[in-house]
């Protein structure tokens, strides 16, 4: 593979990298000027749009089995080509999710960043780098690359979480996140080392081959490795019982970062988990399927039950997003790779994630908008929102309905697919617990709706919504509705992204 082609395949990542470093440099040059700093936001946004264009440009290149991203290093250097990444539907899907997420977060952060954070330019750079790490993670096909990208994501996330240097909560959140994350990744790494020891390979495909051909010396190490990797990835996705960092980190982090944390690490974690389980361990599907089903039940139930208690909207949404991850996990637990039908579990997960992306980020955008005005995000801050800003209130209502899973919202389509997968695999109990949980979740989403819609605000002053915020919320709203009302392209996107991977592995 030539260098040119190699660079083309990495175009989105390269774009993000360049833009991120340009932002660093520009920030150094113009630092301190508020107006210009504001322009940095738009510059970062422009970079994200470029990355989006790049992603779309390389879209046709993906093929079944994945296009290995590696280039010849020449015979002088050992001659081995070790592809660390791949370009397939799944990777592209997550690249798309990443750029969309970055766009939304960067746009919605403007006002917040201006008011609350130091080093405003760098903030955008870090966000862009975090996005880059997600892209890398979603394409990684080698344990080494997986570790590197995940760790890259972790480190940027720590920094972002603790970005409010002078805030008690932010710093506390950062240290907790850091210690928890470091320990979890150490556990995951230990799992990687065991897997390497068992199969003698670090490439996911090679691991699968080794397991399939029986040339495995220490097969009994595979299951412990699976558990440990699951712990590490579960930490990223915030699956119960590896979720405990997330409420604290969500609450303490700057709200735009919370929005990022609720989507980004989850996306990365799911991307890696999907690839890891499907590519490396298809032979162990019985084991991980049962395990994931159990974890999904725990995650949904616990997330919802504890969310009932929360009075801080950010924290509540943290628990809510734990529960949402549980629903997504149903898709993976009920993976039916050979199914001819509309849902094979994986496309369900991807569709759900796609809908969740807009829903949750939209909801956080509203929270940010309210917080910009009221200074905090507790339930009473939402009182009378329908009077203060009908647009925000109605949008928030739709987002909450989507989180519950009521049509015509994207959340409904996601749930339809996810539960469809479970029913198809005859995992009725899983499906029933899933729908019961979506009923329970109404209780706490209602706790947001009630002040927002039914109660009178002490401060009846209308909330001014900045144009960029209006854009973000409006776009998210449109997408959430579109995923349900004009579902076809989204379903096709999710299905085709999943199909390439499944076709190659099963």
């Amino acid at each position: 593979m030539t260098l040119n082609r190699f660079l083309i395949l990495l175009l989105p990542e390269i774009t993000l990298t360049v833009v991120a470093f340009l932002v660093f440099i520009l920030d150094l040059i113009i630092g301190g000027d508020e107006v210009r700093e504001r322009r940095l936001q738009w510059f970062a946004f422009l970079g994200v749009l470029l990355a989006l264009v790049a992603t779309i440009l390389i879209w046709p290149l993906a093929e079944a089995g994945g296009l290995p991203v590696a280039f010849d290093v020449g015979p002088g250097f050992g001659g081995d080509v070790v592809p660390m990444m791949t370009l397939d539907g799944l990777a592209l899907f997550f690249k798309l999710i990443t750029v969309l997420m970055l766009a939304i977060i960067i746009l919605s952060a403007g006002e917040y960043v201006k008011v609350h954070t130091p080093f405003r330019g760098e903030f955008y750079a870090f966000v862009l780098l975090a996005g880059l790490s997600i892209m890398l993670a979603s394409a990684a096909t080698n344990l080494v690359m997986i570790y590197l990208s995940i760790e890259f994501l972790s480190i940027t996330s720590y920094v972002l979480t603790g970005y409010l240097r002078d805030d008690v909560r932010s710093t506390e959140a950062a240290i907790k996140y850091f210690i928890y994350g470091a320990a979890a990744s150490a556990v995951m790494l230990y799992g990687f080392s065991l897997l390497y020891g068992a199969t003698g390979a670090t490439g996911l495909v090679e691991i699968a081959t080794a397991l399939a051909t029986g040339s495995v010396t220490l097969r009994w190490l595979v299951f412990p490795a699976l558990v440990m990797v699951l712990a590490g990835l579960g930490f990223k996705i915030a699956l119960v019982p590896f979720h405990q960092w997330s409420p604290d980190a969500y609450e303490g982090a700057p709200t735009p970062v919370t929005a990022f944390l609720s989507v980004g690490p989850k996306a990365a974690g799911f991307a890696v988990l999907i690839r890891f389980l499907i590519v490396a361990l298809p032979a162990f599907q019985v084991n991980w399927s049962a395990m994931l089903a159990g974890v999904a039940i725990l995650t949904m139930s616990l997330g919802n039950l504890i969310a009932l208690w929360q009075t801080n909207v950010k924290r509540m949404l943290a628990y809510s997003s734990i529960a949402q991850a549980g629903y997504m996990l149903i898709g993976l637990a009920a993976l039916a790779p050979l199914a001819e039908s509309w849902t094979n579990g994986l496309n369900a997960l991807l569709l759900y994630l796609f809908a969740y992306l807009f829903t949750n980020l939209g909801a956080f955008a509203v929270v940010i908008a309210v917080e910009d005005r009221t200074g905090s995000a507790n339930l009473p801050d939402f009182s009378g929102l329908i009077r203060r800003s009908p647009f925000l209130a109605v949008s928030m209502l739709v987002f909450l309905l989507s989180l519950i899973g009521i049509p015509p919202t994207g959340g409904f389509m996601g749930k339809l697919f996810v539960f469809g997968a479970a029913v198809q695999r005859q995992m009725i109990l899983l499906a029933v617990i899933g729908v019961l949980n979506s009923v329970i979740s109404v209780y706490y989403y209602y706790k947001i709706m009630r002040p927002m819609l039914f109660e009178r605000a002490d401060d009846a002053e209308p909330i001014r919504v900045t144009p960029s915020m209006r854009l973000v919320v409006g776009f998210s709203l449109a997408m959430v509705l579109a995923i349900a009302i004009y579902a076809e392209p989204f379903i096709r996107l999710a299905t085709e992204s999943a199909q390439l991977l499944l076709a190659a592995r099963f």
């Binding site: 603790g162 240097r165 002078d166 805030d167 907790k176 850091f178 230990y190 390497y196 020891g197 003698g200």
Partner: protein, 102 residues
């Protein structure tokens, strides 16, 4: 030659010691050191596996080097966070950092 198992047991022990440190030490620096121990256990594993399972390819070695590098970066960020925590809270006792809970 020393059997592979011996290496693995040592690594596992090291991992557990590291974990114990993470769980029990109050000082964040000590916790960080525990994490480093865990990572070193991983490194030991990787190198041992390389030596015994796939001596022909350098994968395990390279992996270990990457881990060491990343650990350094992680420690840097971690220490930076500790400093800001210390500035805000006046200590880095992780047991006392529980303003956010429930």
């Amino acid at each position: 030659m020393i059997p592979l198992y011996w290496w693995l047991i040592v690594a596992a022990a090291l991992f557990c010691i590291g974990l114990y440190a993470v769980l029990s030490r109050k000082n964040a620096i000590a916790v960080l050191m525990g994490i480093e121990l865990m990572l070193n256990a991983v490194n030991l594993n990787l190198v041992a596996f390389w030596r015994y399972i796939t001596p022909q390819a350098l994968t395990g070695q390279v992996f270990a080097i990457f881990v060491i590098t990343v650990a350094a970066a992680e420690a840097a960020v971690g220490l930076a966070i500790f400093i800001s925590v210390y500035r805000m809270h006046g200590s880095i006792n992780v047991e006392k950092l529980d303003t956010m809970r429930w």
